[in-house]
Assembly symmetry: C3
């Protein structure tokens, strides 16, 4: 049984949805040694989130951003947490809808993602800065 | 420590929310041997998702479908990813809101679901076809 | 390899979002003995949910409640599951959006939450009563 836990930073990205599958894999060469396991990714922030979605067409990422901006508006009349800017409270709400973590099955040394699945960083702030991820990889060695 | 990983298909279902607890359990007789563990289910698609909700009244599943259709409309003016049909981009968005995976505790050989909880396949496409699930069951044997 | 599974109840709380990090930690003194692991929390209900969000300003919890009430209205014309009250079907929908479980990395005997992250109980019913949680803690001992 193998347990590996690493913290790493994702470089600052503009507000929006960003494909980060490669960034994650580069941090985890140990993945190749796992026969069956789970990769758990956890973002240590409350205004950015992680999800899995289509990895091919950048328009999907744009549409995601536009949809969540429409569904979770800035300056809603009922917001009381407004001191940190108009993008802040919507960022908290989006972060809870999309969630702070992903659990991805690992098999024969690879993430068992579907053909069209990629890992997204969802950056909900205008200037969120670098984002810290705790990656916990556990499973049975090959 | 036990590690079991299986891939199986859920038969094609119409767009909507479908109770699949039984389909999942049929694939995993090994569950009975686990004293404490986790069942992780992962759907390898970006236009269908998994969730847990009420297992008794089919109206709940109908209301879920109607609500998500209202909240994530087809043909939103801001969609740019439109080549695969009007049900495609909403399906991607719903998939991220509901999520591609479930982690369910296992105790004394059973899923530790509440009395009213069932596992749902959320099919967001009009003609999504069969859906592939990777099930990873791990834990301590009885 | 350590496997600990406990069921405990969270006392009844009013409808809204509630910080429960301390309630959870009090139930799990064993956490201090884990070098690397995962804490999985699972709520055995379909009208309450768990999420992680900002742990400092109570206005964030109020804004979350107000936002989800606006986004998932009571008495939507398309609801058919209405016998259990106007707060019931919205509660099921919110529960699926936010999700029934959390997986939080554990390192050196502590939850590896970010500075501003806390665990929320999201109570979606007007009178939900006490809520049962199954906590599964697993990992490598110190």
């Amino acid at each position: 049984m193998e347990w590996i836990q690493k913290e790493f930073s994702l470089k600052a990205r503009p507000r929006g949805f960003h494909l980060i599958t490669r960034d994650v894999l580069e941090q985890l060469p140990e993945l190749r040694e796992i026969e069956i396991g789970i990769l758990q990714l956890f973002i240590q922030h409350t205004s950015a989130s992680l999800t899995i979605n289509e990895n091919a067409d950048p328009d999907v990422r744009g549409d995601m951003e536009r949809h969540f901006n429409a569904a979770v508006p800035e300056n809603a009349p009922y917001y009381e947490h407004t001191l940190e800017g108009s993008d802040d409270m919507p960022a908290h709400i989006k972060a809870s809808i999309l969630g702070p973590s992903l659990s991805i099955p690992v098999g024969r040394g690879q993430l068992r993602l579907g053909t069209w699945q990629g890992i997204y960083l969802c950056e909900h702030r205008n200037h969120g800065g670098a984002r810290r991820i705790v990656a916990t990889l556990f499973g049975k060695r090959k």
